[in-house]
Amino acid sequence: MEVRRHDVIIVGGGAAGLRAAVAIADADPSADVALVSKVYPMRSHTVSAEGGAAAVARPDDSLEDHAFDTVKGSDFLGDQDVIQYFVEQAARELILLEHWGCPWSRNEDGTVATRAFGGMTTKRTWFARDKVGFHMLHTLFQHSMRYAQIRRYDEYFVTKLLVDGGAVRGVTALDVRSGELFVIAARAVILCTGGGGRAFPFTTNGNIKTGDGMALAYRAGVPLKDMEFVQYHPTGLPRTGILITEAARGEGGYVRNADGERFLVERDYGVGTKAELGPRDMISRAIVQEIEAGRGLKGTYGEYVHLDLTHLGEAHIEAKLPFVRELARTYVGVDPVHEMIPIRPVVHYMMGGVDVDIDGATDLPGLYAAGETASISMNGANRLGSNSLTECLVFGARSGEKALEFARGSSDASEDVLRQQGAEEGARIDALRGKRKGGEKMAVIREQMAAALERGCGVYREESSLEEACRALAQLRGRYADLGLEDASRVFNTELVAALELGNMLDVAEAVANSALPRKESRGAHTRKDYPHRDDQNFLYHTLCSFDPGGPRIGKKPVTLGRWEPQERKY
């Protein structure tokens, strides 16, 4: 079995992973970084982000305002030391990206333009038309091509973290093209694999968002934090779940029910004067309530409401929201200049993830995580739109630097130990490939997992449906062991990769449901019908979920408060 050696391994080549790689190469040109991704980096799901990236840029804005908006948006579950560091570094990161070529949209005077976004008191969201994720990812990727010391492993699927002597020593990675398993040794590993939205039936997430990094950490004994907090983005297209950016509301779009009412204004959903620009969790809840009250529209793929951009005019839409127009026409046959877009809440982001500290470090020495994969926790119980892209940059950079520092002080595991672990993993993978005798079909398990999550961990949750989801997922885990696969090929076996991804999604799903059950309150994106109020007395803590063969173990971790004590979250 071939063993490759590098100083640091980064798993995942999206915004966080690429930024970490560049940070390491900039900090130390002699460092040798492996960027291991199951897709070529420009395919990473960062590419689909549309709205913008937030940073304080205007003189009428302040770091304190950005920090407070984020803390309040998180429903006071965000760690305030993390948030403080974030707002301080945000502008620096976006300026660096501009220097690297990112085509930020501009004001007439040549300065970077900003737009309004949900939950932000001032315009501080930098944008590049309405394809910010695309431009940021391509800028970062193209910039990273300058560094010969960033060694890319394109289309290598990391299957396991190798741990020896109480620290992470590397990974096993499946070369998807040849079917060969490699051991890649390093003194530090950074997980930047995004979230796991594909475990749910309706999601903005692409096929690759299967929670791989979260599962890798989970299986290595690292707890996942705050997994119950799953963000439903209010404006996704029915059936496909394709994202219609918050920027559509930021540019003045309205949300209307079947009666044409702007219900966020006409009725009290807690968003106050912010109306359509309230935080995502509140708007998603409002839409679900409108539909349950019978004021939704009925379609072939379920019920929905309308996003109305018709009053903005063609010129404005073409200038600021051209991609939105293209998506609406291509995927629902609607021209937003003349008609309203059908939308419904869909899973978009996971506030939860691998438990890390402000350096991006887990409690397993040598293991780091950044971006959506991590819960650091910047977003607490609910994330504000346009904070995530900046978060990937700020904490991608920090965790890269910290991982490098750690690697410099650490040591290598013996090659024999790594080979031994690699051989065991190789046998496991070979046994899975083309496993014909299983009776279960992958598509069936996937659909049932998604259905269980939809029923139990939707926008509104309650005790009985959560318990049912936990049971169903445990059962599916058992059935997964009996999976039957058809493809026995070694070369580019996508069925094998999908089976590994399904295992990862089951881990993530289990963590979500089991974390949600004991939280008997409503906070941020986690809303309980049976416990509709926030309970700071008993539940102001982060939930930890650790893997255990007998069923997930739930723990608690204190929230780092700071300048702001929890207050009522009203807009």
Partner: protein, 146 residues
């Protein structure tokens, strides 16, 4: 249905870890769909070659005195020569139309503060100049003016 492309088309500098099937063209070259226009465009080079040889012959004839020049002019009236000229005429129009269609795209986005005029305007201007100059030259050569 599919035809092999050049065996090294889009090949990486070092072979990958697994054997690949060779690249296929999207259409039947040289005259299938996408290739038709490309092949004809390349073939016009042959036409230019012929015209070039004809020009050399004309210069040679000129150098030989007025008798040889008259002989050369008479030879241009043969059906073969007329056919060559007809094909050349079609080729030039073909290349011209193709080039004009692309010409607006090849303009830089702007020169200082000035942006080029919209594509239809540029194309119209090109045709105007082309047709105008052709008519003028035809009139001169036919002896109508000068």
């Amino acid at each position: 249905m599919s035809v092999p492309a050049h065996p090294q088309a889009m090949a990486p500098s070092r072979p990958g870890r697994t054997r690949t099937a060779p690249p296929q063209r999207p259409d039947q070259a040289p005259f299938g769909g996408r290739y038709r226009s490309h092949t004809l465009f390349g073939a016009t080079g042959f036409v230019y070659l012929l015209l070039g040889l004809l020009a050399l012959e004309a210069v040679w004839a000129l150098g030989g005195g007025s008798a040889s020049w008259s002989g050369f002019q008479a030879s241009l009236a043969s059906p073969f020569m007329i056919a060559i000229h007809a094909i050349s005429f079609v080729s030039v129009i073909f290349v011209g139309v193709r080039f004009f269609r692309l010409f607006p795209k090849a303009q830089p986005p702007r020169l200082g503060p000035v942006r080029p005029p919209p594509a239809p305007v540029i194309i119209a201007a090109l045709y105007a100049v082309w047709i105008g100059a052709s008519v003028l030259f035809a009139a001169i050569l036919a002896g109508g003016i000068l």
